[in-house]
């Protein structure tokens, strides 16, 4: 059975700057910092996220397919990491009450998008931390379809067959598998008794 959890996210300035592409915080101009503050104040630095996830058993077939009751994953990277795992978390996280209609100010729009991306990334971290506490298992970093060596179409099909996006008011565009609201992440995370290492491969919105 899938679980639904809501999160309220507050962001640090370092989270936002990283999301906007700054490798060095000193590089951001006064004007950029002012715009960030303006948007943070608009939302009172409170961002609402909703998640749905399911933890399932899996088996490996010939070390090339990871099989669950709802489908399979064919990604060498995920298969390799799964050797140490016992279960698989399949999740969707969305940031709601955030998407805005057309915005003429490109700088504002870009920063808004960066803040949304930072918030949704943090929500995924919070979800995984919570699951670790509840299950006593370690979680791997999240993997999203379309990145690493995991095919976008089959990956999205696998996730959307496992968790119902409509439960958290996420709409999926047919064929392209784009999820709306735009700030939505689909991912899997491997779970096991040992710490999971591996490159973070999360969908960049």
């Amino acid at each position: 059975m899938a679980s639904v959890i809501d999160f309220t996210i507050s962001l640090d300035i370092s989270d936002i700057l990283r999301s906007l592409g700054y490798t060095n915080a000193e590089k951001s101009s006064h004007e950029t910092m002012h715009k960030i503050e303006e948007i943070e104040n608009e939302f009172s630095n409170i961002f609402q996220c909703r998640s749905i996830y399911r933890i399932v058993d899996f088996s490996l077939k010939n070390n090339i397919e990871l099989l669950t009751k709802t489908g399979c994953i064919e990604s060498p990277r995920i298969i390799s990491l799964s050797q140490k795992a016992t279960r698989l978390l399949i999740g969707l996280v969305t940031l709601y009450n955030f998407d805005k209609t057309e915005c003429d100010d490109l700088l504002y729009g870009y920063i808004l998008h960066g803040i949304g991306t930072a918030a949704i990334g943090k929500a995924v971290d919070l979800l995984l931390n919570r699951v670790e506490l509840e299950t006593g298992l370690h979680t791997s970093l999240p993997f999203s379809p379309g990145y690493c060596d995991w095919d976008m179409t089959s990956g999205q099909e696998f996730i959307l067959d496992s968790v119902d996006p409509s439960v958290i008011n996420v709409n999926v565009v047919p064929q392209s598998f784009i999820m709306l609201p735009v700030h939505t992440i689909s991912f899997v995370s491997l779970m096991g008794t040992e710490e999971m290492d591996g490159t973070p491969v999360i969908f960049v919105i």
Binding site: L20, G21, S29, E31, T32, K35, L106, I111, T153, I178
Partner: protein, 209 residues
């Protein structure tokens, strides 16, 4: 330091208020063409280069373009020479894709460099690109997609565009595009980011001259 140098300095340091004050002085004391030649064009080139070198991030690139476009809007455009005033570009994000932030940055860059831009927006049906080509007879069509699942639609759109006009050039970009993918789907060029879009566009324009 002259008014022009002061204005250039405030652009380099992204001081919006200082730039706006300096802009009034410069407009009052200098000819439009001089402002274009000494502030607008070198300022734009320098900012784009700083972004390309990793010295500044996208917000500062956008801020600079915003300041320069504001400056341009105060000049009598008929009095100034713009290198690419006659080049027309049709831009759009392919059907099924709502991500238009990257396309909007590219659009701003084209506008700054004087291209005439026809923006079809996001989630553009493949037929609409060809229809706009018929209507506007552009030099270049720019198509963007952030998704791997919509690349086949870009390919189909290119096919229809080329059927409409074999001389129009198509440039593609987006998260899943690469030079190899661009070639595979029949595009004339690929632009990795806003930093190189002008060079890539100039290359294909010069090739067809």
């Amino acid at each position: 330091m002259s008014h022009l140098q002061e204005l250039m300095q405030s652009l380099r340091t992204f001081e919006k208020e200082t730039f706006k004050k300096g802009m009034s002085l410069v407009i009052k004391n200098h000819e439009p063409q001089e402002i274009i030649d000494q502030i607008f064009t070198p300022g734009l080139d320098e900012t784009r280069n700083r972004y390309y070198q990793g010295e500044i991030a996208i917000p500062e690139l956008l801020l600079s373009m915003q300041l320069l476009m504001d400056l341009l809007s105060h000049l009598d455009i008929k009095q100034v020479g713009r290198k690419r005033g006659n080049n027309k570009i049709v831009l759009g994000v392919i059907e099924g894709d709502p991500h238009d932030l990257g396309k909007n940055i590219i659009k701003r860059m084209y506008e700054c460099y004087g291209f005439q831009v026809y923006d079809l927006g996001k989630n553009v049906f493949i037929n609409n690109f060809a229809e706009k080509v018929r209507e506007t007879k552009p030099d270049v069509v720019g198509i963007s997609t952030m998704m791997s699942t919509t690349v086949s639609k870009v390919s189909k759109a290119i096919e229809l565009i080329k059927m409409e006009s074999s001389s129009v050039n198509v440039i593609v970009g987006g998260a899943f595009m690469t030079a190899a993918v661009a070639e595979d789907i029949g595009a004339d060029a690929y632009a990795e980011s806003a930093a190189v879009i002008i060079e890539e566009t100039d290359k294909i324009l010069n090739k067809t001259k």
